[in-house]
């Protein structure tokens, strides 16, 4: 799919563009504008392997006022703009197309306000996800959404992609934590929503901006709801002789009335891969592993874990004994949390983040294996069993074009199979560039037209993060709906 980049026409040279970088350099503090070819290489790519873009320049503002200045000047010069967080996108969402001006948030990392009584924090968009919890945990609060890149990914990027991870089951996604938002529109105007505004909007514009992948406005500040740190946390780990038994156990758990903090699935390939890289006692003879964690008050969690243990199947369906441990001293999550690191030991890989309705989860697991094997591609799957999200890792080793092409075709086939089951091509990473041309398989043309019109109401002409998310209708790089 990275060939799509090459098929895009070169941006039309516009005389006004020539001076905009100079004007920005004059208007902003020293060092805020990066234009040397060497320094720009960092901003040409992101966490995906979708190729490189062509940034006009990079601007690193420090606050909303400076972002307004940049957006205004870019709009006047007709220069498209690409918001960039920490550049951890796994779908090419932060690759600059059309010689966009990249606006980065790496100088916007301040905590602006922290209300320790009400559990609310107002931060600039560039602060790292994990830094929010680091700032608040001494007061007994944490920020729950936990994308796998949480050590480095920025809150602005999280809001832009409505990021979430395993903990979404109990604590919700980024959109559930958002209480206020400040953004700058294409024309440089400021948008204050939620708690940042004295007057509520009639439409849920804040919810709309969450997950809009930088196409509607540049998010500069957000207010987030925090969760109290739990008094205690216990983990149950069980190895199964079949995925069927593992899925049936998870369903009993979800129906029990106890909502785990997270409940995760690993197939045999993921068990073996992680046990090789980050050994933590997984049984490599098992066909599936379920890890779950309960959090809450001490007596509540102990009672809950006891009850959930009773939901385990007959010992004949298990490999060994289920392990129950206090999470603090348990090593059982180390393997699950090392899955990206483990996959990277195989070289380059494509990571899926597809979703299917829970009732189709087991069938989809099987289908993923069938598709990968038919394509001759190795695979390993971990999954969030509470919401039906599958992360399948498809390695292709060295940057070999033929192997990569085979893996990408396999990945697309899995995504389309999920859509056929009523699911989604993306549950967590977003659409960005790499899944853009598949969106037409999930939505009809009229649905995408409406999405495009809403985008244009915010940023006419699609000049914010251009070329992403919504495929061109009848465009030169569009792919017809399947």
């Amino acid at each position: 799919m990275f060939l799509a980049l090459l098929r895009r026409p070169a941006p039309t040279p516009v005389p006004a563009r020539c001076g905009v970088v100079e004007r920005l350099t004059e208007a902003l503090p020293q060092g805020a504008v990066i234009r040397s070819a060497h320094s720009l290489t960092t901003y040409e790519r992101d966490g995906s392997l979708e190729g490189t873009g062509d940034p006009l320049a990079v601007v690193l503002p420090e606050n909303t006022d400076q972002v307004q200045t940049v957006m205004r000047m870019a709009a006047q010069a007709g220069v498209p703009v690409m918001p960039r967080g920490a550049g951890t996108s796994r779908c090419g969402g932060a690759i600059p197309l059309d010689a966009s001006l990249v606006i980065g948030t790496s100088r916007m990392k301040q905590v602006l306000a922290f209300d320790s009584e009400r559990g609310l924090i107002r931060v600039q968009a560039g602060i790292a996800n994990l830094a929010v919890s680091a700032h608040t945990q001494a007061s007994g609060w944490c920020y729950s959404p936990d994308p796998s890149s949480r050590r480095t990914c920025s809150i602005g990027g999280n809001v832009g992609s409505n990021a979430s991870g395993a903990c979404a089951l109990r604590h919700g996604r980024t959109s559930d934590k958002l209480r206020g938002l400040t953004a700058v529109r294409r024309d440089g105007s400021r948008l204050d929503l939620g708690l940042h505004s004295a007057v509520p909007a009639q439409l849920d514009l804040m919810g709309l901006l969450c997950g809009s992948e930088g196409q509607l406005a540049f998010i500069t500040e957000v207010t987030l709801a925090l969760d109290p740190l739990p008094e205690c946390s216990w983990t149950l780990a069980a190895h199964f002789r079949s995925p069927t038994a593992a899925v049936a156990f998870a369903e009993r758990v979800l129906h029990s009335g106890w909502t785990p903090h997270r409940i995760e699935f690993m197939d045999l390939h993921a068990i073996r891969l992680t046990e090789r890289v980050a050994p933590c006692g997984y049984d490599v003879a098992a066909q599936a592993l379920v890890l779950l964690e309960l959090q809450g008050f001490d007596e509540e969690v102990r009672a809950g874990i006891d009850l959930l243990r009773q939901l385990l199947p007959d010992p004949a369906d298990l490999v060994g004994q289920a392990r129950v441990e206090a999470s603090q001293s348990s090593s059982m999550w180390q393997g699950r949390e090392a899955i990206y690191r483990a996959a990277s030991t195989l070289g380059a890989f494509e990571a899926l983040d597809v979703n299917v309705p829970l009732g189709r989860f087991e069938a989809m697991l099987q289908r993923v294996g069938e598709i990968a094997e038919a394509c001759g591609v190795a695979h390993a799957t971990v999954a969030h069993m509470g919401d039906g999200t599958l992360h399948t890792f498809l390695p292709y080793g060295a940057m070999d074009a033929a192997a990569r092409s085979r893996v990408m075709a396999c990945a697309d086939e899995v995504r389309l199979a999920c859509v056929a089951e009523g699911g989604s091509i993306s549950a967590e990473y977003g659409v960005g560039l790499s899944r853009r041309d598949l969106l037409g398989a999930q939505y009809a043309a009229t649905d995408l037209d409406q999405q495009r019109r809403v985008r244009d109401a915010f940023a006419p002409g699609g000049e914010l993060n251009p070329g992403k998310v919504i495929p061109q209708r009848n465009g030169e790089w569009g792919r017809p709906p399947q």
């Binding site: 009400r118 559990g119 409505n162 979404a168 996604r173 959109s175 559930d176 209480r179 206020g180 529109r185 948008l191 204050d192 929503l193 708690l195 505004s197 004295a198 509520p200 009639q202 439409l203 849920d204 514009l205 709309l208 969450c210 997950g211 809009s212 709801a225 109290p228 008094e231 369903e251 979800l254 129906h255 009335g257 106890w258 809450g296 008050f297 007596e299 509540e300 009672a303 809950g304 979703n355 299917v356 829970l358 969030h384 509470g386 919401d387 989604s424 091509i425 549950a427 967590e428 899944r435 969106l439 999930q442 009229t446 649905d447 409406q450 019109r453 809403v454 109401a457 915010f458 998310v469």
Partner: protein, 402 residues
């Protein structure tokens, strides 16, 4: 300042309630060609319009039926006109429910009609359980909408987690018919908990706000927090008091027991606490959810103030504490309801509201004498009003929808 955008029965020129989306589209196309103004409605439990001109009404109430429900999926897809009661009964038979406890507005509005699942989405109807679960919009997974361009548009995907594309469900939820006729909805569902427990504590309203915030900070999962005034308590047979806070805990027995103990630790040692559980508790919360402890009669005005998310000033209710009206505060449903007799002038109430709840939008849900009108406080100009208009126009460029 109040503006009256009253809609009387006589201003309705014609109404249509198709049982097929295609027929709705045809009717809407005809209305658009005649430049007629169309008001959308569901089960006819409320009246609302911003138009003073005669309008034609298009109702989704005959678009009925559950389209997809498999308990394992933990979601339900239904046509918009499906009665809410039908959806709730189906879910209950399988040990499930909607997470956000939508209220039945008929008592407060003094209307017949049938609450529908589509109207729950259109009005973002959320009840006390919203305190823990969030608003209805957080659980709306997908919707199908017939927009003002007469296009059938699907927003979102009926699966539990999806970030593909621009999330139009966030616009549709709470849009009150401004964007199009909702014809189908998909909502997340959850298991019905094993046990529920209600704590009733005689206390002023500000104590409810304090306890709720403290409970959240300590990890106590309250699934309802409502304060009911003394006058309403007395009429409901609870005896004389300054008013009571109702707190609810739900979950497996062991969980409720642990959270109850922590909650009682938070309360003053001399607090007057009564507890109930099971059907008694459930019956209380149905009445709190619907505002039916408030003795609204034909001659009364019923006012509603929509509250924002948690984090707004936690002392907004003091002015209401000092007035002798029937009122209740629902933290999960994010609304303050007030019933004012004919003697109370609306200007007094709006002044009171402006002082106490500056960030909230008060609305007269029901006017005195039983007439049904929608009065809304005018809002100060905001930077996002032109943007909202542009977004609405992207769905309805010819302003067909009233």
């Amino acid at each position: 300042m109040i503006y009256y955008d009253a809609l009387t029965e006589s201003s309705v020129v014609s109404s249509f309630a198709p049982d097929r989306e295609e027929d709705a589209a045809e009717w809407l196309r005809s209305a658009r060609s005649r430049r007629a103004r169309v008001r959308l409605c569901g089960g006819d439990t409320r009246r609302r319009s911003r138009a003073e001109d005669p309008v034609h009404t298009l109702s989704s109430r005959n678009l009925c039926g559950v389209l997809r429900y498999e308990p394992r999926d933990r979601l339900i897809v239904a046509r918009a006109g499906t009665p809410l009661a039908v959806v709730e009964q189906l879910l209950a038979r399988n040990g499930q429910r909607l997470p956000f406890e939508p209220a039945d507005p008929r008592h407060l509005l003094g209307r017949p009609g049938t609450p529908t699942i589509g109207a729950v989405a259109a009005a973002n109807v959320t009840g006390p359980r919203g305190l823990e679960a969030g608003e209805a919009r957080a659980h709306l997974l997908a919707a199908r909408l017939l927009n003002g361009r007469i296009e059938s548009v699907r927003c979102g995907t009926a699966t539990l987690k999806d970030v593909a594309g621009v999330d139009l469900t966030r616009l549709v939820a709470g849009s009150l018919g401004r964007l199009g006729l909702i014809t189908e909805v998909a909502f997340r569902v959850v298991s019905i908990p094993e046990h529920e427990l209600t704590l009733r504590i005689a206390a002023p309203a500000r104590d409810l706000l304090r306890w709720s915030a403290q409970a959240r900070a300590r990890g106590i999962r309250l699934t309802g927090g409502v304060w009911l005034c003394g006058a309403s308590m007395l009429e409901a047979g609870y005896g004389r008091c300054c008013g009571s806070a109702f707190l609810r805990l739900e979950g497996p027995h062991a969980m409720v027991t642990a959270h109850r103990r922590r909650m009682l630790d938070l309360l003053p040692t001399d607090a007057d606490v009564e507890e109930c559980s099971g059907p008694t508790s459930a019956a209380i919360w149905t009445r709190l959810r619907d505002g039916s402890f408030l003795p609204a009669v034909e001659a009364d005005d019923v006012w509603e103030w929509r509250l924002g998310a948690e984090g707004e000033a936690l002392d907004p209710v003091r002015p209401f504490d000092e007035i002798g009206l029937n009122w209740q505060l629902d933290l999960g449903g994010r609304r303050l309801l007030c019933v004012a007799g004919a003697g109370v002038r609306s200007e007094q109430l709006t002044q009171l509201a402006s002082a106490g709840l500056p960030q909230c939008r008060p609305a007269l849900l029901r006017g005195s004498g039983g007439s049904v009108r929608a009065h809304r406080m005018s809002r100060p100009g905001t930077s996002f009003q032109p943007l909202e208009r542009a977004v609405m126009a992207s769905f309805d460029p010819d302003h067909v929808l009233a």
